[in-house]
């Protein structure tokens, strides 16, 4: 046995993991009535599409980095910093963004990978443990192969082209590799922590609160992207001023990961040493080598880690139970809402889509309200934060149906009307929007005395948000009834995601667009509210009709 045999084992495991990730049979879903071979092919195709999509996004980031290095954009973005400092900052930014996105993707996939029970099945075979390590590692890598290749190939190519230097392009490789290895390591470590510590944590309000706090931390890497974009002009200005007046400070800053790697292309390219003294340049290059050591050790750890982590079991907290305590049945819609929130509190993938709009509100609120100079600014920025939260909640609306995958075959045997299910999901979208708006409201109250205009704005958007959620979920129901498929199975292809999400985004964005068009006019807010209500009046009955039938 060796790597070749390990590859054969990992291929079987990969097919199974693709199948489970699309059809979620181990989570209680049922298979559609199709030929089994076509189901396998569909699963593989859809997993590849997902990887391709993430790979494209990462490739675009790399290409964007190359574009940002072009003289025109450089003049526009980085006039205060010397050219080479600007180049290092752009490359560092691209590497950080790619690392964050790959880590975020890993966080979505890893819990499924670790809890899929595929690797424990391989353990029963008479195979050398080292080959099992390799098979687990290869399986793990195959989940991220297209995105990782995109980082390792597209980014060096784009930077090399932009800097007109093959050497500069090649010098990006260590940084790109380090970003991939770090993202893999962080995904595995945090995924393991979640499966081990959070999945088995007991019920109860204190444990649930702690779990949600973990989940907020969990979503932080995604916000590294956001925060970096928000603060990049500030960072460039800091770099510029440091390079003009404080070379030692600049060197110190350049020692922080990923700057040492980001500096290498500039050094290898035509721009040279950033104007730093040779000793300082040597320190930065030495830092790149110093970072390479722990990253190399991490890479070695990665070969054995996937198997070891996949064989672990959740740690069950000892807790006294009170089985005599009464049950508290509620209304069906509320029960669905609670069930989804409880599921999300133990499933990072779902928790992420619940938290994203709320954290978005917090990040935009915090970063922009600090800089807003007048009440008008505060309102404009608050409105922008509400708008993005509304659009994010709408964007992820259909993903909330994915939580129905859990135990779905059982839920469908219950007397649950499609409209009740729809109401539960719309309720979740509204709850997320309300929490986001409340966060922004908090910032508004802190900055201006009378935040009522902002409140009116948030309320004016609410009917459009409900209409957007209704149209998205209504389409899902309609198609499921026509095709005889479970609604959760429909939302696994990029095409259906587009068909479902696009109309919702248009409905949610239309009143915001109207408000923007009428901005400054006295009745802008009233017009937005009326338009929003009108949308709900049209979409509501449509969704009501569409959910007459369907699998619920």
């Amino acid at each position: 046995m060796g790597w070749r045999s390990a590859r054969a084992l990992s291929s079987v495991a990969y097919q199974e993991l693709s199948f489970q990730s699309i059809y979620a049979l181990r989570q209680g879903n049922v298979l559609p009535s199709s030929d089994p071979p076509s189901l396998v092919a569909t699963a593989r195709r859809r997993v590849f599409q997902s990887k391709l999509l993430i790979g494209l996004l990462l490739g675009l980031m790399g290409a964007g980095g190359g574009l940002a290095l072009s003289p025109t954009v450089e003049h526009f973005l980085g006039p205060t910093a010397p050219m080479a400092v600007y180049q290092a900052a752009v490359i560092a930014g691209v590497l950080l963004l790619q690392l964050s996105l790959l880590w975020t993707t890993g966080l979505q996939i890893l819990p499924t990978f670790l809890s899929s029970r595929i690797l424990p099945t391989l353990e029963t075979l008479p195979v050398d443990p080292r080959d099992l390590d390799r098979a687990a590692f290869l399986l793990f890598v195959r989940l991220f192969d297209t995105p990782a290749l995109s980082i390792i190939v597209v980014t060096p190519f784009a930077i090399g082209v932009a800097l007109h230097s093959v050497w500069a392009g090649l010098a990006v490789l260590p940084g790109a590799l380090s970003a991939v290895i770090l993202a893999f390591g962080l995904s595995l470590a945090t995924g393991d922590f979640f499966v081990r510590r959070v999945v088995g944590s007991p019920t109860g309000s204190l444990s649930t609160t702690i779990r949600w706090m973990f989940l907020v931390l969990w979503a932080v890497p995604a916000f590294a992207i956001y925060t970096f974009i928000s603060f990049s002009p500030e960072l460039l200005r800091t770099l510029g001023s440091l390079s003009n007046g404080n070379p030692t400070g600049l060197t110190g800053l350049l020692l922080i990961y990923p700057f040492p790697f980001a500096y290498l292309p500039s050094l290898a390219g035509p721009t040279g040493t950033l104007g730093l003294p040779t000793a300082n340049v040597l320190v930065v290059v030495a830092a790149a080598f110093a970072y390479a050591v722990p990253i190399g050790l991490l890479a070695a750890w990665l070969v054995r880690a996937p198997r070891r982590l996949a064989l672990g079991v959740p740690e069950v907290a000892a807790r006294r139970t009170n089985s005599g305590a009464p049950l508290h049945p509620t209304g069906a819609v509320r029960a669905l809402l609670f069930k989804d929130l409880r599921t999300a509190s133990r499933s990072p993938g779902y928790a992420f889509v619940v938290l994203l709009p709320i954290l978005d509100a917090a990040v935009i609120g915090l970063s922009t309200f600090v800089g807003a100079r007048s009440a008008t600014n505060v309102f404009n920025l608050g409105a922008a934060a509400v708008a993005t939260s509304a659009l994010l909640a709408t964007f992820f609306g259909p993903a909330f149906f994915a939580t129905e995958v859990m135990g779905y075959s059982y839920t469908r045997t219950l007397p649950l009307a499609p409209r009740t299910l729809l109401a539960g999901k719309v309720g979740l979208v509204v709850l997320i929007y309300a929490l986001s708006a409340a966060v922004i409201f908090g910032f508004t109250v802190a900055r201006v005395f009378s935040p009522w205009v902002f409140t009116a704005f948030a309320l004016a958007e609410l009917p459009a948000l409900v209409a957007a959620a209704l149209i998205e979920l209504g389409i899902l129901f309609k198609v499921s009834a026509r095709r005889g498929l479970a609604v959760t199975n429909l939302y696994t292809g990029a095409w259906w995601a587009t068909v479902v999400v696009l109309p919702g985004l248009i409905v949610a964005a239309a009143p915001l667009g109207l408000f923007q068009a009428l901005h400054g006019q006295e009745d802008a807010l009233a017009a937005m509210g009326v338009f929003s209500l009108l949308e709900l009046a049209i979409v509501g009955p449509l969704a009501w009709l569409w959910t007459r039938k369907g699998y619920a």
Partner: protein
Amino acid sequence: MSSPTAEELDPLPLRVDSLTVRYGALTAVDRLSFTVRPGEIYGLLGSNGAGKSSTIKCVVGLQPAASGVIRVFGRDPLRDTLEAKARIGYVPESTLLFDSLSPREFLEFVASVRRLEASRVGERVGAYVRALDIEREFDQPLATLSNGTRQKVLVMAALLHQPSLLILDEPLNNLDPRTVRILKELFGEYVRTRGRGILFSTHTMEVAQQLCHRVGILDRGRLRAEGTLEELRRRTANGEASLEELYLHLTEAEAGVAAAVRELSGA
């Protein structure tokens, strides 16, 4: 005057008529017909892949049939979905549930969807928790519980609303002998209440012989024989035969069993 209930309209808990289920080119169930009568435990017997679970999935509304008629107390599970499902309690073959919920949270969810009153359901759940001995696990996430405990939770959920039709797909899998005994006694008692019926799917012949009033023997999607143990014995002219022997005889599997044993012994 109040309108008649479904049970009054059609007292037959379950009627399946010419049911056909297909997966692409594969016909899993072929023109299957049977009924579950009031007061009866009907055993659906068959080997692996005989079509038992496909039949059950159609009855509980998980899967559309290619053709045929299914009626639960006269209601079509596809057209009158909610009315039919409200009368069914279902224990699925697999214990795949909401891993992130505890048994308490799961039962609360089921009770909420079924619109059960807290006072009505609380006492019942308390009794089941004690009888099935899951007091210690009641507030732990299902992900951390054994398959047996999960199976107990599924049985509790199926009985929560005291349905008129219980559909049990291998309900005794994974359970300890004490619980198996309790549940066998419980199911026997359950159908003594007027109008109730149980559809019991299994491939364990001893359990079916002890528990079922009538059985239907399914083989490669077709119903080979149906009746009480005595009727099947008369049909095969073997007055002392066990249900296992009858099953092997009726599915013409006896010769295959002997050949397989010979081949494996020599292997």
